[in-house]
C-alpha cells in the first residue's frame, strides 16, 4: 500500500504558540485513521497541516508525495477538509451554497443532486438559507459540499458533531464507501465508540505530538 501522509518531527505554530510540537505520523492509502486526544492536543492543527492550509515551521512532511515545506499549495485541490467551521455562506440557500462549491471544482449538476440526496438536504431544505439551518443541517451541507470535491484524502474534524443518529450512520456509510473507492480518511472525533468502530487504526495526539 502507498503511504499518503508522511510527517516527521513537524512543528506548526499559531502566532507564537506551537500547536504542533514535533508530530510523526504515517498514513497508508485506504486507512481510516482516528485521531484522539484531549481538547487542545493539536488534532485540528494536524488536520490543517495535512490539508496544506497551515505552514510547517520545522520538520518534514509529504502528503500524496508533495512536499509540505515547499509546495503545500499543490496539495489543496486533492484533499478535502471539514473543519470546525462549515465553510458555508450564511446568506445563501443550501442549493446556492452547493452550486457555488460545485462550480469552483467543476462538479456537474447531477453530482450536486446526488450529494444533496445522500446527505438528505434536498427537497424542502434546498431553498432554505444556511443561516436558518440547525447545526446538524449545516454539517450535512458541509459534508455534501465535501462529497462533490471528490477528494483523495478526507480530513474530518469532529464530523459527527451536531448530527442526529441517522446522520451519523449515513456519515459512516459515506466514509466507508469513499474508502472502498480508493480514498483515505483521517478524522478527529469525540464520538469514541462510534469512531472506534469505524476506524481501522487509532492515533493518540497529546501535547502537540503523536504519543
Amino acid at each position: 500500500m502507498d503511504t499518503v501522509i508522511e510527517l516527521s518531527g513537524v512543528v506548526a505554530v499559531l502566532g507564537q504558540f506551537p500547536a504542533l510540537a514535533g508530530v510523526d505520523l504515517s498514513v497508508q492509502c485506504g486507512e481510516i485513521v482516528l485521531l484522539q486526544g484531549p481538547n487542545g492536543a493539536g488534532k485540528t492543527s494536524l488536520l490543517r497541516v495535512c490539508a496544506g492550509l497551515m505552514p510547517i515551521e520545522r520538520g518534514t512532511g509529504h502528503v500524496l508525495g508533495i512536499d509540505l515545506a515547499t509546495n503545500r499549495e499543490a496539495i489543496r485541490s486533492r484533499v478535502g477538509l471539514l473543519g470546525h467551521a462549515n465553510g458555508l455562506y450564511l446568506d445563501l440557500t443550501v442549493m446556492q451554497n452547493l452550486q457555488f462549491w460545485a462550480s469552483t471544482v467543476a462538479a456537474t449538476a447531477s453530482e450536486v443532486s446526488t450529494a444533496m440526496s445522500t446527505m438528505r438536504i434536498d427537497g424542502r431544505l434546498a431553498d432554505v438559507k444556511a443561516s436558518q439551518l440547525s447545526a446538524g443541517q449545516r454539517r450535512r451541507c458541509a459534508l455534501a459540499s465535501l462529497i462533490v470535491r471528490r477528494a483523495e484524502i478526507w480530513l474530518l474534524d469532529e464530523p459527527h458533531a451536531g448530527l442526529d443518529a441517522a446522520g451519523r450512520d449515513e456519515l459512516d456509510a459515506l466514509l466507508r464507501s469513499a474508502v472502498a473507492s480508493g480514498a483515505t480518511v483521517v478524522l478527529a472525533s469525540h464520538e469514541r465508540d462510534r469512531a472506534l468502530d469505524l476506524a481501522t487504526r487509532t492515533v493518540t495526539i497529546d501535547g502537540g505530538g503523536a504519543a
Binding site: V11, V13, F17, P18, A21, E57, G207, G209
Partner: protein, 244 residues
C-alpha cells in the same frame, strides 16, 4: 564579549565616528560659515537638513522595496532581506517625519504658513501615511515568514503607489519652487560653500542611514532569534503537557 557589545562592530564604530564628524562639520558649515541666500536669506539654512532628510527617506523606501523584491524572488528566501527592508522602512518613516516638520517650518518662513496644499508637501504626507501602514502590517503577528511575505508584497505595492500619488497630486496643484540644483533659474542660487554644505549633508545623512540600518537589522535579527528560542521553550512545554 567586551569588544563587541551590542549590535556594533569595529567597522560600525568607525563609520559612526565619521558620521558624527561629518554632521558636526555640516552644522558648522550650514549654520555658520555658509553665506545667506540672496532671496531666501538665512532661511536657506534649513535646506541643509531638510533636503538630506527627504533624500534619505527616498533611499530608505527604495532599499525597502529592493530587499522585498529580492526576498520574494529569491530561491531560499532568507529572512535577512525582510529584516533589512523592515529596518529601512522604519528609518524611512523617521526621516519623512523629520522632513515634513522641517519643511513646514521652512514653509512658515518663506510662504508665511506651516502648510500649503502644494504637490510635493501633500504627496510626502501620503508617503508618510503609506509607510506607517507598512509598519503596522509588520506588527500584525504570525510567524516570521508570514510577516515577511505580507510586508514584502506591501512594500512593492507602496513603491508602485508613490509615483501615482505624486503624479496625481502634481496635476492637482503645483506651487512649489523648482528643485534648485537642477534648475539654474530657480530662486535659490548656491555658491561654492553652500553647494558643499548641501552635498556634505546628503553624504552624511546617507552614511547615517547605513549606520542605522546596520544596527537596526541586527537588533531585529536578535528579536527574531529570541522568539525562535522562545519557540523551543514552548515546544518543550507543549510536549510536557502530554504527560500531565
Amino acid at each position: 564579549m567586551a569588544k563587541t557589545s551590542g549590535t556594533g562592530t569595529s567597522a560600525t564604530r568607525r563609520l559612526g565616528i565619521v558620521v558624527i564628524l561629518m554632521l558636526a562639520t555640516l552644522a558648522l558649515c550650514g549654520l555658520w560659515f555658509s553665506a545667506e541666500d540672496v532671496v531666501q536669506g538665512s532661511t536657506v539654512r534649513i535646506m541643509y537638513i531638510h533636503v538630506p532628510s527627504i533624500w534619505t527617506a527616498y533611499i530608505a523606501f527604495g532599499l525597502a522595496a529592493l530587499c522585498s523584491g529580492v526576498y520574494l524572488s529569491g530561491k531560499n528566501r532568507s529572512l535577512a532581506w525582510d529584516r533589512v527592508a523592515g529596518a529601512s522602512g522604519e528609518i524611512g518613516v523617521l526621516f519623512v517625519a523629520v522632513s515634513l516638520v522641517t519643511g513646514s517650518m521652512w514653509g512658515r518662513l518663506t510662504w508665511g504658513t506651516y502648510w500649503v496644499w502644494d504637490a510635493r508637501l501633500t504627496s510626502t504626507a501620503f508617503l508618510f501615511i503609506t509607510y506607517v501602514g507598512y509598519l503596522a502590517v509588520r506588527q500584525l503577528g504570525g510567524t516570521h515568514r508570514q510577516r515577511a511575505r505580507r510586508s514584502s508584497v506591501l512594500a512593492l505595492l507602496a513603491i508602485l503607489e508613490i509615483p501615482l500619488v505624486h503624479f496625481s497630486v502634481t496635476l492637482w496643484r503645483s506651487l512649489h519652487q523648482e528643485a534648485s540644483v537642477a534648475n539654474p533659474n530657480a530662486k535659490v542660487e548656491l555658491d561654492g560653500l553652500m553647494l558643499f554644505s548641501l552635498f556634505l549633508g546628503l553624504v552624511a545623512f546617507t552614511m547615517l542611514f547605513v549606520w542605522l540600518v546596520l544596527h537596526r537589522q541586527r537588533a531585529m535579527m536578535l528579536e527574531d532569534a529570541f522568539s525562535d528560542r522562545g519557540l523551543d521553550v514552548a515546544i518543550t512545554a507543549r510536549r510536557n503537557e502530554a504527560g500531565a
